[in-house]
Amino acid sequence: MNFDLTEDQTLLVDTVRDFVKKESPVERMRKLRDTELGWDRAVWKKMGELGWLGVMFPEAVGGAGMTFVEAGLIVQELGTTLVPEPLIPLFVAGSALAEAGSAEQQQRFLAPALAGEQSLAFAFLEEQSRHDPHSVRTHAHPAGAGYRLRGKKRWVLNGHAADQIVVSARSDGGEASADGLSLFVIDRSLPGVRVQPVSTMDGQKAAMIELADVEVGADRVLGGVGKAGPLLAALMDLGAAATVCEASGILQTVLWMTRNYLMERKQFNVPIGSFQALQHRTVDMFVEAELTKSVAMLAMIKAQDPDPNERQRAISAAKASVIESGAFVTRQGIQLHGGIGVTDEHDVGLYFKRMHILATLFGDDAFHLARYASLPSFSANL
């Protein structure tokens, strides 16, 4: 058992920290949130060059051959200043390609993204799905040598900009069945792909995507047709793990931002941080932020665990835990800032918003607690 970072990991974290400090303070995100893209292609390219985008992917496709631990560390640090580039969609959609794609598909769809030349998105949510990655109505009918896709995907992160979109579709099985699901790589320029950009509360962008009889070749199916059920579950966990890591960065920031404000803000002629009730509240925030650091490590380590029970138990625990901690820390962060905390000009509200997005993405607390309680581990040793 060992939670110390390796030399490579330490170097990586230091580089990312340096970047957020010097090149991507929250101010950058503030400027970008009003733009159509919401992020910066030049920065994306740089992230590709620095090897961050490919960090968890095989060297053969231009990655660094490391694991999700390193990806999680990057996301955690980027969370500290709300860096808006779409790494989470990349890591999730990219993992679909890395896990199920052929070498050719990886070179074609993944390599340009890892280099920072293109970006990806992962379209799995539908109107009825309520966090369940197996609840898919979008249909894939065999058509000629390929397939015809029909359906509507919602809340596709980076769907407004992604060059390639990994989409789930059903060729068989009932609405919520894990069987009969497949993953396709869709080019946004294919006929029938209708992308409606939407704004998300955190100042980022996503898309509602309608697939109106989109014809795709067999070369755009990832892995075997109808076999993507387990992979979809794994991608969901990977995404959830990434949100936990980013939340950890957020909570640390909000904790210390609040603590600093308490030292600085004077009322009744003393720093308000000298009031015991506020001190204890800040300690409660500290406890939650520390626990979140811990569950972020849990998420990093277990996100790619091959044993589904082991993976789902850890990820659901981490996600449910961080949702509770995140709600508390960001709410109290605002409360302890008082009036200034609810102004758009202060950063703490931006963290609050992003935390809600992270809490909701890839499963809320009700979803993860229910899943946790349905795993074999929950009923083991009775």
Partner: protein, 392 residues
């Protein structure tokens, strides 16, 4: 002990309910149905409709345009308004400077200002907080220098809600910097927003709409007749008003309406093919909050029944602000939770999420202020600890 309303009170409620139904213009009713935020113009439109009926300030004495209702009728009236989701009138004239003037103002002031507050012809805003005087309000720094027949105001106010639309502002200003206690050198002054030297600049809240301003005063000349009550007694007047605010912000009707909306969303949202409202875990979440609201409603009834019989509001009313704002926030949390992925949405065009869900996220953000404004909940707890529990 009696929890029921009298037949007359129930008839009154029915009258109010049906009047609202007929009087609320369709475009406002449509926004109410989806709990959208109303614009200032819409609020004033509704204000004038209420004024036309004589119901803009039912809590005022009859002789200055009030309705002469007792507390129960006032409660029923405001609950009906809240349940119908009508625009909330700006409280600064009707609920704050108006009552203060009625209690402490002179006849000339009452004659000059009250009718236009009532009719909505003049809009007011409040100048209390300053950048360095929030919880410690008495340390405020806006100076009002005595120049014989007028004051000269210099300084800055913040959180001046809708100052950009206001005709008048009432401020707490320092008129005696030498007073032994800082509370003793403060006066209550009315200032025309059109006076040279007054600048109001709106800023955004996290809710995404510009409800608040910063307001600067640079050598603003204010005639002495705009002083309310006695010089240096402003703090006493302002404090007398704070009690009223507590019951204003409980928002029982608002939360009740939010819970209704929550259930409607839960009924209309399917998960695994079944309405969320059928899921026992979700039913329990909703019921937990609704039960808390039931308890608070009873506390509100008690405060009300006391008031009806002429009692001073007892300690039970002090919890209304604390718990009421927590429940309001809890309702927003619940709504966002029920919306699931749709709670990601932010100011998108109609159709992205169902109408009922469209304004939840701004409210979720905006209502973080509920536990901060009108005396933060921490300040409320300090007050209860000292005044009610007698702790040192």
């Amino acid at each position: 002990m009696d929890l029921s309303f009298s037949p007359e009170e129930l008839a009154f409620r029915d009258e109010v309910r049906s009047w609202i139904k007929s009087a609320l213009p369709p475009h406002l009713a449509a926004k109410a149905e989806m709990d959208a935020e109303f614009t200032h113009a819409e609020v004033m439109e509704w204000h004038k409709i209420l004024a036309g009926k004589g119901w803009a300030a039912p809590h005022w004495p009859k002789e200055v345009g009030g309705a002469g209702w007792d507390a129960a009728r006032r409660f029923l009236f405001s609950e009906e308004l809240e349940l119908a989701g009508t625009p909330r009138l700006s409280p600064f004239g009707l609920a704050m400077v108006g009552p203060l003037m009625i209690q402490f103002g002179n006849d000339a002031q009452k004659k000059r200002y009250l009718p236009k507050i009532l009719s909505g012809e003049e809009v007011w805003c409040q100048g209390y907080s300053e950048p360095n005087a929030g919880s410690d309000l008495a340390s405020l720094a806006l100076r009002a220098e005595d120049r014989g027949d007028h004051f000269i105001l210099n300084g800055q106010k913040t959180w001046t809600t809708y100052a950009q639309y206001a005709d008048w502002i009432f401020v707490l200003a320092r008129t005696n910097a030498e007073a032994k206690k800082k509370q003793e050198g403060i006066s209550f002054i009315l200032c025309d927003m059109k006076s040279p030297g007054v600048t109001a600049k709106p800023f955004l809240t996290t809710g995404g709409t510009p409800a608040f301003c910063e307001t600067w005063f640079e050598n603003v000349r204010v005639p002495k007749e705009n002083l309310v009550g006695e010089l240096n007694q402003g703090w006493t007047y302002a404090k007398a008003l704070l009690g009223h605010e507590r019951t204003l912000v409980a928002g029982i009707g608002i939360s009740a309406r939010a819970l209704l909306r929550a259930k409607r969303i839960a009924r209309d949202t399917l998960a695994g093919g079944r309405p969320l409202l059928d899921d026992p875990v979700i039913r329990t979440r909703i019921a937990t909050l609704e039960v808390r609201l039931d308890a608070l409603r009873m506390a509100n009834y008690r405060a009300l029944a006391g008031a009806k019989l002429g009692h001073a509001p007892g300690p039970e009313s002090s919890i209304l602000k604390l718990r009421g704002t927590e429940i309001q926030q809890g309702c927003m949390d619940l709504l966002m939770f029920l919306m699931g992925d749709n709670s990601l949405s932010w100011f998108n065009e109609p159709g992205v999420v169902p109408p009922r869900e469209q304004w939840v996220a701004p409210g979720f953000n905006y209502l973080r202020a509920a536990t901060i404004y009108a005396g933060s909940n921490e300040i409320q707890k300090n007050i209860i600890a000292k005044m009610i529990l007698g702790l040192p």
